[in-house]
């Protein structure tokens, strides 16, 4: 017999699965065309886009990991708030420009733009590979978020560490993404975000009241402020992560699905509402400390906290919200990476391809989902977390080619490629060196400049190298290209 909690949970998850399949009929489109399947025909208005983009960048893993980080390290974990807030003014400028170019020239991915602007296949492949490599562990981490909830629910949900329920949910996800394309996560995002807002608002009203108020919760928090030497780390983590926020393939996919530049701009102004919610959610990490929740597996603190303080029916809604919150971004990430693979790595499609067949992208989506599932089942969670951190650092390295490329043609593709390659290698080496202590990868590294130790986000050190090489090597490459041209 199902309990009320498990009944509501199961009911909501079944409901969104049906919504995912029915979404194929939305707008009566021919889903064999790539633009219809992968970008919803580029027809989403302000409200659909708001749910889609919000559902895409604030994922189940975010909801589990951000409070867990605050629980573990205190104030430093709050960098998620400035990170997501400054992402929007940056996105407002950069994405408006990218959206307009993409509409004019028919781009489906960021690498499409890079190919068109620089005419360089190697650079296009480099940009596409970065996106795919950063996305795969991210998809896997969505499963980790789901697993945390399934394990908490126990019973049939937790059979063989939750892997049975996880596999069922993911096979269904792959099936409706294959059938409906981007319309599936777009439709489900409505349900997901409504449930998430209900959960978070209830949590920030109910939980602090039962724990003696925010004043008390902050009073027992062990690290409510940044120690002075991590201030630079805090700022660089926020800034570096913000640079990558909209460069991920899943963000690009949901941005390009907007029907006009105004829709993109309006969303940059309205999406910070999600960041506010995330900020309060992060503080639940302190609530967990005040509630004396102790655990080795920090990803279980949010399910434990909600399970302990919510009435059964509300806990059912909250757990469904987290699981559905994993399915939406996982679907968009799979679509975004499949597009990069199909368009830019296999080079299946040529330019100006509004009506090309989506077949290859659809099959690749299935393959990516299968890969992510295997990854979570066979590889320890710590690897996925480390790879996702590394993915964020890698993603920043496409800034020179993609973001600067939107504004200038001064940089030479060979110089950009060399900068990218060096930065990827240096960043990976730095990250690996932080893992030597055996506690996993740290996103920050300390270097001594003129006798002062500076701890900062690895992605920014690597970006500095990346930019320096691109700027210095570009004039040399152009001069070399001119000499060859005059000789011939």
């Amino acid at each position: 017999m199902l309990s009320l909690r498990d009944g509501i949970f199961t009911g909501l998850v079944v409901l969104v699965t049906l919504v995912g399949f029915v979404a194929a009929r939305w707008g009566n489109a021919n889903l064999r065309h790539l633009e219809e399947w992968a970008l919803g025909g580029r027809r989403f208005g302000t409200i659909v886009s708001w749910f889609l983009i919000g559902g895409d960048i604030y994922t189940a893993y975010t909801f589990i990991a951000v409070p867990a980080l605050v629980y573990g390290v205190g104030a430093l974990g709050f960098y998620a708030v400035p990170y997501a807030a400054i992402g929007y003014p940056y996105g407002f400028v950069v994405l408006s420009r990218f959206w307009s170019l993409a509409r004019e020239r028919g781009y489906v991915t960021s690498a499409d733009f890079v190919r068109d602007r620089f005419g360089s296949r190697p650079l296009e492949v480099a940009i596409a590979l970065t996106g795919v490599l950063a996305s795969l562990p991210y998809i896997a981490l969505q499963l980790v978020g789901m697993k945390a909830v399934l394990m908490h629910l126990g019973g049939a949900f937790a059979i063989s560490n939750g892997e049975l329920a996880l596999s069922v949910a993911f096979v269904l996800l792959a099936a409706y993404t294959f059938t409906s394309g981007l319309r599936a996560p777009a439709a489900i995002a409505f349900v997901k975000d409504t449930l998430i807002y209900v959960t978070v608002i209830a949590a920030i009203i109910i939980i602090p009241a039962k724990l003696g108020g925010w004043g008390h919760i902050f009073a027992v928090a062990p690290k409510p402020l940044l120690v002075p030497k991590v201030q630079v780390a805090y700022a660089t983590l926020a800034f570096g992560s913000c640079l990558a926020l909209f460069l991920y393939p899943h963000s690009i996919t949901s941005i390009l699905a907007a029907k006009s530049k105004e829709v993109v701009q309006r969303n940059m102004s309205l999406l910070p509402i999600y960041s506010l919610m995330l900020g309060f959610l992060a503080l639940l990490g302190y609530c967990a400390i005040a509630a004396h929740i102790t655990t080795k597996d920090t990803s279980s603190i949010i399910p434990t906290l909600l399970g302990a303080y919510f009435p059964d029916w509300l806990a059912g809604i909250a757990f469904a919200a987290i699981v559905i919150g994993a399915l939406v971004p996982a679907a968009i990430m799979a679509i975004g990476s499949a597009n990069l693979f199909a368009s830019n790595i296999f080079s299946e499609f040529r330019h100006g391809r509004g009506h090309v067949d989506a077949h290859l992208s659809k099959l690749l989506t299935l393959a990516l989902c299968a890969f992510a599932l295997c990854f979570v089942i066979f590889v320890p969670t710590a690897y996925a977390i480390n790879l996702q951190l590394l993915g964020g650092i890698w993603m920043v390295q496409i800034v020179p080619a993609f973001v600067l490329g939107l504004y200038t043609r001064a940089l030479h593709p060979a110089a950009l490629l060399l900068g990218w390659l060096c930065a990827m290698l240096v960043a990976t080496a730095m990250a690996a060196s932080t893992a030597l202590g055996g506690t996993g990868i740290s996103p920050n590294i300390t270097f001594t400049f003129f006798g002062h130790g500076v701890t900062a986000y690895i992605a920014l050190y690597a970006l500095a190298i990346n930019l320096a090489i691109a700027v210095v090597a570009s004039p040399l490459c152009w001069a070399f290209a001119r000499r060859i041209a005059t000789r011939a």
Partner: protein, 61 residues
């Protein structure tokens, strides 16, 4: 001066990227240390600034 409105978009960066500005407990608001309520408050401020840039851009056309 046509693009001066974009300078508003720098405000959130200045407000957030020097943690020394807000890394303190007092003054508190509803039990929240300054560090937290300041950063939470800057989120809707960022939202409004972006909205202003958008509206100013539309008014020019």
């Amino acid at each position: 001066m046509a693009r001066a409105r974009y300078l508003l978009l720098l405000v959130p960066f200045l407000a957030y990227l020097d943690p020394a500005l807000y890394n303190r407990i007092e003054p508190r608001l509803f039990g929240f240390p300054f560090f937290y309520w300041y950063q939470l408050l800057m989120v809707p401020v960022t939202s409004i600034l972006i909205g202003c840039v958008m509206i100013l851009g539309r008014a020019r056309r």
